[in-house]
Symmetry: C2
Subunit: 575 residues, 2 copies
């Protein structure tokens, strides 16, 4: 029990924060419940994220809620059906399955990141690695981490549980854009559950099969990426600790940059990406993690997801799991929108209006309808519309090379189609937006908030959450457990605070010292004691969880004093 | 477009409230997205539910978050694998599948509720009912509505998406109970997503394959059900409109009862059930639905879910779908906890401490260990512990009937085991709690709030949400769209409101009349106009969305005035 992680897990279970799901059925790894105080903590963490990413940027950032279950085409388009896999081996004899890369890392101390399944198979064979159960590993194959199901009553109508939120934002992008009056930049955020069918998750709250993500897709004009971050100046001077891929490859250390420097020196490839990383740092600091325990680690080409051109893991140091990723910050480019355009045939471009119309010479496909009619008769209109849909450049090239245009099997001779350059007034152009994505793991955020809150003082445990994150905000305690008048007064004060919307505990069970200890262990910032002076003059004491100091305030001032205190005011400044 | 429902759907799409998911892929029925304003509306609806059910009752009611995916044993225990089905027919020729009961209802105008599959098959055959596609329906079978998946890499490790939240609360009951110091009554609430694989959902937001439930399992001492509702008096006088099953069967009308009358006259079988129904009514009224459009309809024995001994549907009248169920209120008894005890072998009872220990005579199983040892040798301890685990009544009966006790295949003769009556001090007893469940559909709540907010006035559309539910709380509008000083001042005021935590729209595009119309259509309660007087004396006008009246307040008083206004203060009383 001396291990911090063990203490934390025990406290979390005992006091109703979190515990493994389905315990009465022996548990299923990768699933966790949040208990009463875990839920409150998570609500406050979500509110903090929403405040920093959405509400403070509400002119540009809005929220979406899309379903967890999607038809298979969505994840074919996104690339997940093909790429969202882990390497797996089945052990001969036992039939047990393991992650092949973990097996290699644990047995050989080599990172398998970026290795092909063939390379892993070879390595396991050559080095004679055994499975943890003593068996011999078979060939390394891949296992898709999407939870698969069936939508509706027809077999073959495959659906998947989303493994991330992003596809919901891409698929609904055009609707949200219209509701937001077709303007870029546009951030679409979402907070919701996702599922990843991990092969054998063993890291408790850190690696779950189902968890909450808080994520934003920030859509920008690819031709005006710098102009897409109108609030850049607000955080240009914020310092970030970054371990770039180059530095990492050379065995270097993380370096500190201001956001502006990181962009100027091209350590971060995009202004918006850099800005949202700074917001992400502020969020994790608000969880109670000091800045020096937060680091941005750039991923290398082989380590990045298939859609990303630059990715940083935002990591936090933890006692048992070392540096843990709490967020990923990716430049996704136009990968996703382009893929969905190609799979759905929908137009997901944004029409970008010029300040003034431009006169430009453009090439146009000109069709001689008479000639076309003679050639194609009842098919004329079909051939016509298909010709029209071809880019002029394609038609021009085919005419030059072959003297005809082939479209969907129809062969159109040069008598019926030609290219003309004409002058046109152009009011704008279509662009496929690029995307910057900050994506946070909600349950990991909760875990690090919990771990960093854990303190021991004089042999007692205190959960020193930042006051505005504390699940329960105050405790009301009559000084003695069996004085009726104290109890009656304390109950009144308790009820008044509940009416004001606070989460409060009332406790009259045991000595006042034991009750203080219980509230400290739960992370309650303010313990309000009702004593004999209260009965005389309607004042109560407020005791600060962290300093154990006390001040007296009038009972009627309690709600406003408590509000100030929770927002960070020093105890002495109350009421 | 004259149909109200069509108008609502169109408005909801156009202004970013809700729309069918996966539109760019042709849509998948039963899935809806919430857009920017839909998400905000839903957040406020959830907050209202949480306030009424959880926060105001926080001494007894807490929240839980459990996973969506559960191992199959959970839904075997709950009865869903067996019972959670709809009748289905496959049509000959086309292979299309339909809900058999809907086919009967639509073709014959007969309710198929409670009919067996055989009865439905017979009816379809005898009456020559055809499928909507003209084919002949085959035999009626059942289709299980659980979304099925696989947990982890082993085929056969079946998991299901939860179709309700309740099982999460039952499975984790003991942990939550411990965190809440082992006291009854205990309400465990949860707000979360569920999935139901409907056969062919066609009712838009009303029948979804994936949606949000807001639900509470309220655990009570079965021997003190009346005492389990300590706040009963607060709502004893609230009137509810109830259509009891008896009245319905006799073709009667709904009747109005106070909560107290309904309990006294046994229209509602349980005090807690009645109390939470009253809270449920208050919640739906808070959505903007007048009380006379809310009704509680009791379900008959054949209509209730398999676990329930009394159920009321809380229904609201809608324009297209008629009376729609927004909540179910069920007395679930000890069905679920008992089932999970039997499937998991875990002890889910609550130890109920007596005020004072009782002296009682109890029967005990007494074992002669010497005799047992001679008979069973190395198995002695095993047989001993199995004997001990048998209830004394069972041992007594077996001894009386057969002169021996059979336990797990071991036969223990009466020489080795007997029953003795002894006097014992008993400090309490174990009980299996009973459960009262109010369960609300979050997306239906959102839909009815939206429909009841819809008004037309002088040819314009107004979404007259209750002010505290409005997604966007204020709009800041410079009087003219091209006066730099007005715009600068308006932007300052806008930013100040955002900093105070409000959701605000800034709009300087078009005539002020058109801008008012846009904010009305979005349901923004307060339009704040910055005009030339503002530049002189720093006052602005607040325009009420519903009355279109205006008052002037000082810009610096705006945040507090707005807060008052959103809480319901009349415009004239501001600031």
């Amino acid at each position: 029990m001396s291990d911090l992680y063990e203490k934390i897990s025990d406290l979390a279970k005992r006091r109703g924060f979190f515990w493994p799901s389905y315990e009465i059925y022996g548990g299923v790894s990768g699933f966790y419940d949040l208990g009463p105080y875990g839920v409150l903590l998570k609500q406050r963490i979500i509110e903090k994220w929403r405040e920093l990413f959405v509400r403070n940027h509400q002119e540009y950032v809005v929220e979406l809620e899309s379903p967890l279950i999607a038809p298979s085409v969505v994840f074919e388009a996104s690339g997940h059906v093909e790429h969202f896999t882990d390497p797996i081996v089945t052990c001969k004899g036992t039939g047990r399955r393991y992650r092949a890369d973990h097996l290699i890392e644990e047995a050989l101390g080599i990172s398998a990141e970026g290795m092909s399944t063939e390379e892993m198979s070879k390595l396991l064979r050559e080095r004679g690695v055994k499975c943890p159960d003593g068996g011999e590993p078979g060939e390394v194959t891949t296992f898709n981490l999407l939870f698969k199901t069936q939508i509706g009553p027809y077999e073959g109508d495959v659906g998947y549980l989303r493994p991330e939120l992003a596809q919901g934002m891409f698929v609904a992008f055009k609707r949200v854009l219209e509701a937001m009056r077709n303007k870029l930049p546009l951030g679409i955020a979402q907070i919701g559950r996702v599922g990843r069918n991990e092969i054998s998750p063993r890291q408790a709250m850190i690696r779950l099969r189902e968890f909450t993500i808080m994520e934003m897709e920030y859509f920008v004009d690819p031709e005006d990426r710098d102009g897409s971050c109108p609030f850049f100046e607000e955080r240009a001077g914020t310092r970030l600790r970054i371990l770039s891929y180059d530095a990492k490859a050379k065995g270097g250390e993380p370096q500190s940059f201001t956001v502006e420097e990181a962009v100027m020196e091209k350590v971060i490839v995009d202004k918006c990406l850099a800005y949202w990383m700074a917001v992400g740092q502020e969020f994790v600091e608000a969880l109670g993690v000091p800045r020096h325990e937060i680091l941005f680690v750039e991923k290398g080409p082989g380590e990045r997801a298939h859609y990303s051109s630059q990715t940083f893991d935002q990591v936090v140091r933890t006692s048992r799991w070392g540096w843990v990723e709490v967020a990923g910050h990716s430049y996704r480019g136009d990968y996703d929108l382009s893929r969905h355009m190609s799979y759905s045939k929908a137009d997901l471009t944004v029409f970008k209006q010029y300040r003034e119309p431009l006169n430009v010479r453009v090439k146009k496909v000109m069709v001689d309808k008479g000639a076309l009619g003679r050639l194609f008769r009842e098919k004329t209109m079909e051939v016509f519309s298909r010709l029209q849909s071809l880019p002029a450049e394609v038609v021009e090239e085919q005419l030059a090379k072959e003297g005809k245009v082939t479209v969907d099997g129809y062969q159109v001779p040069k008598e019926a189609v030609r290219i003309e350059e004409v002058e046109e007034k152009v009011t704008g152009k279509k662009v496929v937006p690029h995307v910057v994505e900050p994506s946070f793991g909600g349950d990991r955020a909760l875990y690090v908030a919990f771990e960093y809150a854990y303190r021991e003082k004089e042999g007692r445990v205190i959960l020193a959450f930042p006051r505005d994150l504390a699940p329960v905000q105050a405790a009301v305690l009559p000084l003695l457990e069996n004085d009726e008048e104290l109890i009656r007064t304390a109950r009144e004060i308790y009820k008044a605070l509940v009416r004001e919307g606070f989460y409060v505990i009332y406790d009259d069970n045991g000595s006042i010292g034991r009750r203080y200890a219980r509230t400290d262990e739960l992370g309650v910032p303010a313990a309000i004691t009702v004593d004999y002076k209260t009965l005389e003059d309607r004042t109560v004491t407020i005791r600060d969880r962290d300093s154990w100091n006390q001040v007296r305030v009038r009972a009627e001032d309690l709600p406003s004093a408590l509000k100030k205190f929770l927002r960070g005011a020093p105890l002495e400044s109350l009421p």
